[in-house]
Symmetry: C2
Subunit: 300 residues, 2 copies
């Protein structure tokens, strides 16, 4: 079924695998619904393209930070097109943070950049692989900083974003969310850490009285298995509690979704892969899945 | 192929699912190689049993700590039989730590008990599901205690035990081990934590000069996927970095192996399941897999 509005795809770092992955989209069932923002010279003529020529022509694997401003302009165009209703949502191919930082722009990633552009205070990272959805209560923090970061206020606001977006963007009317404990065995009744009793459980209890369907805090080594029963999403407390299992389960077709934005945004779950750019060996599975999920969200 | 010596299976907590899982072993291809230690009254007459009658007859789900001493005697008999060469190895059905603690015995688990019995200084927990093997550098610690626990000495001794037992007990002549970083993205070059640069990488470098085949520190969300290439085992830095993916991958047939003991010991990866004991619904998959792995290790 064609979409009511097109999806916009940003081709990302021109020296990475993004442009060649976009060319693979010729085989996507959503081809007619896609507009690609990138450098026309890198993109197949059969794609619908908004041309943003890069000032420096780069070889695969050899990025040049002089192209960063053009790349960011493309992201801005995609996001504002989504806000203005020109596009149903945006799908991002990878960029390299370090290349953009080298250009002198303070840049910590797609997610934060898009949150700022769209005035979103609390973006939440969700990874999707098939019917497994894993959100993160904390993302890119050193492990030793995680326990003190996770206050009741943080956990509450992540859960509110997750619950709302599962309803509004995924069309799940009564989302069931499993929340992991912070410690092994979810603290084993306080024997292996106190954060479950002191922080997580009371927060969940308060949100349940607000109507949210939450289970946990649950041991993370149970939460993802069939033994945990049905769930629409799992909230992991930190990066390596949730992503190893998600990336194992969804190898080659996992999708990164930013929740908490006023627009739909999905992304590949991998980087620019400078080491294989230009060899034609990059697997477009994650970009295909990101397009498919954005289309599905647009129709929810 | 029959084993040269039998395996001994301890039936575990009599009010849990252990005895009924042992009865399911009638369908094991290794039935003729098994000796079960437990209460004859709970065990099928077709099993070969060393009878250790419990003083208190218990109903399913209603344990009595007065049975703890008998249960521990059974474990001692199994372990000394392995040391004396009567058995090729031991397989343990679950017990409940709290029931044993309630009897007044200082008991922190099968692993520590067997390590003490056999004079093993450094037991290492390894979980196995099919060809995925995950060892833990730290086990049952609150998350906030993990970073300071992981010294070079700890990581070295865990890796030495893992490497040696992969050779000696799994018959892998040149084990390849992937070692996870502690922090997300393995610290991303120091931007997300310093332990990779300060602790893990130098330790691996020193052990490589000793001939060990180690890769890492690697981001945990890559380490378990095919993108990481061949590995004989992954060493996770802590419980919830390694076990969610292992239990997801091996749901219903994961096996817990204690390395670093002078004997072979495998175990189910689940607990006594008091809530379903006696209902006949407990899945014997993990016990079957634990027997099969012990048999395979005995033949390595």
């Amino acid at each position: 079924m064609p979409l009511a509005k097109p999806l916009v795809v940003t081709a990302g770092e021109p020296a990475g695998v993004g442009p060649e992955l976009c060319n693979a989209l010729l085989d996507s069932p959503y081809l007619d619904d896609l507009v690609v923002i990138g450098d026309r010279r890198q993109l197949d003529e059969r794609l619908t393209v908004i041309d943003t020529p890069f000032p420096v022509e780069v070889a695969p694997g050899k990025p040049d930070s002089a192209n960063a401003a053009t790349l960011l302009d493309g992201l801005r165009a995609a996001a504002s097109g989504c806000r203005d209703g020109d596009y149903a949502g945006m799908v991002t191919a990878p960029l390299a943070k370090s290349v953009i930082a080298d250009s002198g722009v303070d840049f910590s990633g797609h997610t934060e950049f898009l949150a700022e552009l769209t005035g979103a205070a609390h973006p939440v990272m969700l990874l999707v692989a098939g019917d497994l959805r894993v959100a993160l209560a904390s993302t890119h923090l050193p492990l030793r900083d995680v326990p003190d970061y996770l206050t009741p206020a943080i956990i509450e606001r992540v859960l509110r974003v997750l619950d709302r977006d599962l309803r509004e963007k995924f069309g799940i009317s009564q989302p069931e969310i499993i929340v992991c404990g912070l410690n092994p065995h979810a603290g084993e009744g306080g024997h292996l850490g106190s954060e479950e009793n002191d922080i997580i459980a009371p927060t969940l209890e308060a949100l349940r009285t607000d109507g949210m369907r939450l289970r946990g805090p649950m041991p993370a080594d149970t939460a993802f298995t069939p033994a945990a029963g049905h769930k629409d999403a799992v909230l992991a407390m930190y990066h390596d509690q949730g992503l190893p299992v998600l990336k194992y389960a969804g190898f080659g077709h996992a999708v990164n979704v930013t929740l908490g934005l006023p627009i739909i945004r999905t992304s590949v779950d991998h980087g620019t892969a400078f080491d294989i750019a230009g060899t034609g060996t990059a697997d477009p599975g994650s970009l295909f899945a990101a397009v498919e999920l954005a289309a599905s969200m647009a129709q929810s």
